[in-house]
């Protein structure tokens, strides 16, 4: 009989196991260093520094036009934004050198602030192609139509998304809330490593907000991280962040714990802007 405490094993491994555990806890998943990005020669991100470790939830807040979506899109690989300086390391790799689809297959996911409508292409159809591209990339078997269907049924339920919508053209004729839930649904199916949610909470009623938050919370795990871009502290009542950052004029002006969100809610952004102006 194999003993639970095999002496030989215990002898050779304790140091290693201990070290690994510590490493996992502190694994740097994303490291953004001095990121500058512009669009049509207009600098929007002006030196962003941000480190996200596995298992963490970071919230990014900030006034309109401060560059939150730009940051999210740059992370996902949108080429309308030109990165002029700085670097992004994702799980030890240079993220900026990767194509958008390669990033996705490596586990990056962006829930769009404004999900696009795509006539003629239904969600299930493309999502299965996307999921299988990812599975293939990781050496897993592709899902057949039946397996995929049951996965879809299960995940659609968790975000209370009417399955019928999924056989319609992507986001076409969806309500605002349905579009946002569709983003979370896709996230649930693709099970990303790093999920960036760009204002997924904006414009949702409390029920939809709960559903979306629940979708995120179910995915929270020690080897996953979330970056939540939001305007409203309310979301953070449902998804409790580890860190809150304030983006002002293309730079992180202030970082703190979840209390910072409450303070921002109360005092607005002006005081942070003031502080950062003094600081720079």
């Amino acid at each position: 009989m194999m003993g639970l405490f095999d002496n030989a094993n215990v002898k050779t491994t304790p140091g290693k196991v201990e070290k690994q555990r510590i490493e996992i806890e502190k694994t740097k998943m994303l490291e953004i260093r001095n990121l500058h990005a512009s669009v049509e020669g207009h600098e929007i991100l002006r030196g962003v520094d941000l480190t996200v470790n596995a298992g963490e939830v970071h919230s990014i807040m900030g006034p309109n036009g401060s560059g939150k979506s730009t940051l999210a899109q740059v992370l996902a690989g949108r080429d309308t934004y030109e990165v002029t300086e700085g670097e992004i390391i994702y799980n030890g790799k240079n993220l900026l050198e990767m194509e958008p689809d390669e990033r996705a297959r490596e586990g990056v996911f962006l829930a769009f602030q404004y999900p696009v409508e795509i006539p003629g292409v239904n969600t299930n159809y493309f999502l299965r192609a996307a999921l299988n591209a990812k599975r293939k990339h990781h050496g897993q078997d592709e899902l057949d139509a039946m397996d995929f269907l049951s996965l879809v049924k299960e995940k659609a339920k968790t975000v209370q998304l009417n399955e019928k919508l999924l056989s319609r053209a992507i986001n076409e004729g969806f309500s605002g809330g349905e579009k946002k839930r569709n983003e979370i649904f896709q996230m649930a199916v693709l099970e990303p490593t790093l999920a960036i949610l760009d204002e997924t909470d904006s414009g949702l009623d409390i029920d939809a907000l709960r559903i979306v938050s629940e979708g995120v919370n179910q995915l929270r795990s020690p080897d996953r991280a979330f970056v939540l871009v939001t305007h409203y502290q309310r979301l953070l009542n449902y998804i409790v962040p580890d860190f809150v950052h304030v983006l002002v004029r293309g730079q992180i002006a202030k970082s703190g714990g979840k209390e910072l969100a409450l303070e921002l809610e109360e005092r607005g952004y002006a005081w942070v802007e003031g502080e950062s102006a003094v600081a720079s």
């Binding site: 689809d101 192609a129 996307a130």
Partner: protein, 446 residues
């Protein structure tokens, strides 16, 4: 009149052959008048307003001859890829303008309907033929239409009597062969749907062989009061992508409260010119025409629509989409004439073009002539490349670039093909579109 070129003589020679053949006495004067009209007009140049963007110089330069009857070497296997399965009303094959019984397949049809070849109907259904053939498609400015009237050989004849609803789609396949010399073929179809009847007719046009050919085809459709006709015109790339010159007209002559639903699909040919014309001559009738063009290489497709709203309370709907790759050229012209008394006309025209290469080119021209004051006429045209945002959206989920592009194009086309009610044809065309796209990891759903 333009100079008498060798090509013109070729048409004149052809006319002599046709003229010498036996035919009903009422037809000959029509043919003669048409030939004279053609001689006057000549093969159009780009100076002609309706041919501004479609240069048919290659047609003018070639010396086409009428193909012989039989001995064409067309086998069922060779046409199988182009035939649509599921035409339970029968498949009628015409080779070089002649009905080919051996290649055709009879179907199950309800009693009362007459389906067959125009050449036979000329004697068997003399009255109907004399009443309708070459009486409705009569655009005096259309040289190719005149040429077709002068030289028409045979085609599909369908007559659906009052009240009969025909559930089984009827298919006609027009094959032009050109193995050693440039050939020309002239087919002429007539569909007469009497009051409250309904019928579906599919036309497939294709060329076999490697030498240039001219395929001219005209279909006149008489839609009786309260009748419904579904009509499909499919022009397919044959064994070579760019040796086929297709010129054709589909004309709908509509009565009261009737529906004409048309779909024009073009997936190849050196030059494909489709004229679709409708005369809404009875109140409460509707003309709906959808189209999808998907071409590449140096192919050109020209859809020319002309709808006459002659009376009040009619509706028309035109929705044409096109995908152009490489050096392909697209032309769309949508003319809507709202006559003086045609109040409450509701006409909508949309033309959307997708350019997959920097060299592809599309000219889109709406022409609304409105002489009534209480009407609703709208038109819209977009010409563009694949939507970057949509492409990014798909890629941000992990789809490879090529696959995402293919899927977007497929989606663009599929949206149009949804309008096809005859499901086997829809599936066939979906598969055709899909095959043209780089697969990537996109898959075709059942």
């Amino acid at each position: 009149m333009v100079e008498m070129t060798a090509e013109k003589n070729a048409y004149a020679e052809a006319f002599e052959i046709i003229e010498a053949q036996a035919g009903p006495s009422w037809l000959l004067p029509i043919r003669k008048a048409a030939m004279a009209r053609f001689a006057d007009l000549g093969i159009p140049t780009t100076r002609h307003e309706e041919w501004k963007f479609t240069n048919v110089a290659p047609i003018r330069k070639l010396d086409f001859a009428l193909a012989e009857v039989g001995g064409h070497g067309v086998t069922p296997d060779r046409i199988a890829p182009f035939v649509c399965d599921g035409a339970t009303g029968g498949t009628f094959v015409f080779v070089n303008g002649h009905f080919d019984k051996g290649l055709s397949k009879t179907g199950q049809l309800p009693a009362g309907i007459t389906v067959g070849s125009v050449a036979e109907a000329v004697s068997a259904n003399a009255g109907l033929l004399e009443q309708h053939l070459a009486r409705h498609a009569t655009n005096e400015q259309d040289a190719f239409l005149a040429l077709n009237t002068a030289l028409m050989r045979d085609g599909l004849f369908v007559h659906v009597p009052k009240g009969l609803v025909v559930e089984q789609p009827i298919q006609a396949v027009f094959v032009t062969t050109s193995e050693s010399d440039p050939t020309m073929a002239f087919s002429r179809n007539l569909i007469v749907a009497d009051e409250s009847s309904q019928v579906t007719v599919v036309e497939v046009h294709v060329g076999l062989g490697t030498i240039p050919f001219l395929a001219s085809s005209v279909t006149e459709i008489v839609v009786g009061d309260n009748a419904t006709v579904d009509h499909y015109r499919v022009t397919r790339e044959g064994e070579l992508p760019d040796n086929g010159f297709f010129v054709g007209t589909t004309h709908a002559q509509q009565g009261r409260d009737c529906n004409m639903r048309s779909f024009v699909a073009t997936t190849g040919g050196a030059i494909v010119r489709n004229d679709a014309t409708a005369w809404l001559g009875g109140e409460g009738s509707d003309f709906t025409i959808n189209g999808l063009t998907m071409i590449e290489g140096r192919q050109l497709a020209d859809n020319h629509l002309c709808i006459d709203h002659a009376v009040p309370h009619c509706t028309s709907w035109e929705y044409f989409k096109g995908v152009y790759d490489d050096d392909a050229r697209g032309v769309f012209s949508g003319r809507i004439n709202v006559h003086k008394d045609a109040q409450k006309t509701d006409a909508k025209q949309t033309n959307m073009s997708l350019l997959l290469s920097d060299r592809a080119l599309v000219d889109s021209k709406p022409q609304l002539e409105i002489f009534a004051d209480d009407v609703k006429c709208t038109h819209g045209a977009t010409i563009g490349q694949l939507d970057d945002e949509a492409l990014f959206y798909l890629r941000s989920r992990g789809m490879m670039r090529e696959a995402a592009r293919s899927l977007l194009v497929f989606g663009f086309c599929r949206e149009s093909l949804q309008e096809i009610r005859f499901t086997p044809l829809k599936k066939q065309l979906e598969a055709l579109v899909f095959e043209r796209l780089p697969h990537g990891n996109v898959f075709l759903e059942d």
